[in-house]
């Protein structure tokens, strides 16, 4: 009796918390479709005016393009490099492995304001402020720990015996890597790419310091607007970013499902 009572209490509490966690996001999405001239909830009418303004404005367009370019660079660079590192971590025994891994995770821990200033300092000396490529690579550094964590978890499930078998059957190292290791790791790699892109797409402080006037990303534009005067277009931009996040989580869910299915087949 007592037990059921406490379980129900827990359920009610968790449900309330879920509402609290999702409500702010839901409210922003609803506001994005507001027909009013200012930010007010609940909106008195619905319209697409703010989305029209977001996608129609050349400055917002350029920010969106900057975000996409920088995100793509960060995603490709961090996943490629991170994959090689994750593979080595799982396949080779070497000294101080745990220490090295924890060092490679340091970029998530260092306060982003410090990382941003240090990178700004270096970019200033090198004359690379405002460079898409450099900003993309800086984001890749920040995304790499995330890539590493995702790939370590994904590759962990891949049986090293498959590689041994392929090698034993006469495959060359490169051949086995491309035909056995990569295909099996593919869902994990795709997940890592998605989250690396997202890490860059949402990153604010490094972009704020390194973008200059030219390479301003979406979060930088939002930041500038929130600091000056909050324009309702921000709600539409936010809803767009939320949609991108949701889409990436959905695709990742599908990939995870496939990975799980494959594992079940392998163990059966």
């Amino acid at each position: 009796m007592m037990r059921r009572w406490s379980t129900n209490l827990l359920r009610v509490y968790v449900a309330a918390m879920c509402v609290l966690l999702l409500a702010p996001i839901g409210i922003v999405v609803i506001l994005a479709f507001s027909g009013d001239g200012y930010l007010h909830f609940p909106p008195s009418s619905l319209s697409l005016q703010w989305f029209r303004r977001f996608f129609g404005d050349p400055q917002w367009q350029r920010s969106l393009l900057s975000s996409l370019i920088i995100g793509t660079i960060a995603c490709i660079a961090s996943t490629t490099i991170g994959f090689l590192a994750a593979y080595t971590f799982l396949r080779v025994e070497f000294l101080a492995k745990k220490l090295l891994l924890s060092l490679m995770l340091v970029p998530i821990i260092v306060p982003s304001i410090i990382t941003a200033i240090a990178m700004y300092y270096a970019a200033g000396k090198l004359g690379l402020i405002g460079s898409y490529l450099w900003l993309g690579l800086c984001h890749a550094v920040i995304a790499m720990p995330i890539v590493l964590l995702i790939l370590l978890a994904a590759l962990h499930a891949v049986d090293p015996n498959l590689e041994r078998a392929a090698l034993g059957l006469g495959g060359s190292r490169l051949h086995v890597f491309c035909r056995v290791v990569l295909p099996i790791a593919l869902p994990g790699i795709m997940s890592a790419m998605l989250f690396a892109f997202l890490a860059s797409f949402d990153e604010l402080l490094i972009s704020l310091f390194l973008s200059g006037v030219y390479a301003q990303t979406l979060p930088v534009r939002i930041w500038n607007s929130l600091n000056l005067q909050v324009e309702p277009t921000i709600a539409a931009v936010s809803a767009f970013l939320i949609a991108v996040t949701t889409l990436i989580l959905l695709i990742d869910g599908v990939l995870r499902h496939r990975r799980g299915g494959r594992r079940r087949c392998a163990s059966a």
Binding site: M2, R3, L10, V14, M17, L21, L22, P24, I25, I27, V28, L31, H40, F41, T80, I81, L84, A85, T88, F89, R91, V92, E93, K97, K98, P107, I109, V110, P111, I113, I114, T115, I117, A118, M119, Y121, V141, M144, L149, L152, A153, H156, G170, G171, S172, F201, L204, L205, P219, I222, W223, L226, V230, I234, A235, S238, I242, T245, I248, L249
Partner: protein, 296 residues
């Protein structure tokens, strides 16, 4: 190709070693890029900034001492730690039951809770902060609802003050706590709980004497990670805080943007970085990083 097989059969040990060394090379790009683009700029930023100081070492140390004992710095330090502490405790109290439900619950409810934790976790911090600015603003939903209910008459000040910062930061950091706790709680052996039940222990008793102690290292990891992230926090307090909520990260930014005082910014950054790294070392001891690479 046939040759390779013949060789690997003939001298397996040395080939294995050679291939191991060659595989190790795959780590190189990651190491190089991390070193060149992260660690070197970090060290250079400190070293060069301090080198540019004109004067003797004694003068430098005296100035550094003055800065680190100055009123704005000490106030920001106290504010930062106080906010970090409250946020950590809040997030722990809110997050523990959620993580507990995630590990013990069953059915579709669990997937919804996972979504409710993961979606905000991956949503841009600036978007999450913006949503709370809309909610807590002078004509925001919270004030309007309270006013409509007749509970308040004056517009409530929920933003541009400490409360706003605490709410915004707790919201942003809650998922970190829940996910860390969840990872730790998942490792708790359910048969222990069943055994306690079978031996006649009540639910609350089992929870207090078995579950809670076993989850404590998760609590410690979660608290450390949230505290680490809190003390370096910038975006949310900068947007939602008032004049009295200047945290260290904001002070550092102000030194650069407003005062263009690189040595002061570097010195404060260094102190913040050192504290962060010490806490990270502690986190590293508490949390089993090895699990990630499959070593036991």
């Amino acid at each position: 190709m046939a040759n390779t097989i013949a060789i690997s059969r003939a001298v397996p040990v040395s080939t294995a070693r050679a291939s191991r060394d060659r595989t190790l090379l795959l780590m190189l790009p990651a190491l190089v890029i991390l070193l060149l683009m992260f660690f070197v700029p970090l060290v250079l930023f400190f070293v060069r900034t301090f080198m540019e100081f004109e004067g003797t070492t004694a003068q430098f140390l005296a100035q550094a001492g003055d800065l680190l004992l100055s009123q704005p710095y000490l106030t920001a330090l106290a504010t930062t730690n106080w906010i970090a502490l409250i946020v950590t405790v809040t997030v722990l109290l809110i997050g523990y039951p959620i993580a507990y439900y995630l590990t013990t619950g069953k059915g579709p409810g669990v997937s919804i809770v996972v979504l409710a934790v993961v979606l905000p976790y991956f949503t841009s911090i600036i978007v999450r902060t913006f949503s709370w600015m809309v909610l807590l603003g002078e004509h925001g939903l919270v004030t309007d609802t309270l006013r409509a209910a007749g509970l308040i008459h004056e517009p409530l000040s929920l933003m541009y003050n400490r409360l706003g910062v605490l709410i915004g930061m707790s919201y942003v950091l809650l998922p970190y706590m829940v996910l860390t706790l969840f990872a730790a709680m998942r490792g708790i052996d359910a048969s222990l709980l069943r055994a306690a039940e079978g031996l006649g222990a009540s639910g609350p008793y089992t929870f207090r004497r078995i579950y809670l102690p076993l989850s404590l290292h998760g609590v410690l990891s979660g608290a450390l990670i949230v505290y680490i992230l809190s003390i370096g926090y910038f975006i949310t307090p900068a947007l939602m805080g008032g004049q009295h909520d200047i945290m260290i990260a904001m002070l550092i930014d102000r030194e650069l943007e407003v005062a263009v005082d690189w040595p002061s910014a570097a010195l404060m950054s260094l102190s913040l970085l050192l504290v962060t790294l010490v806490l990270y070392a502690l986190y590293y001891r508490v949390t089993d990083i090895r699990r990630l690479i499959g070593a036991r």
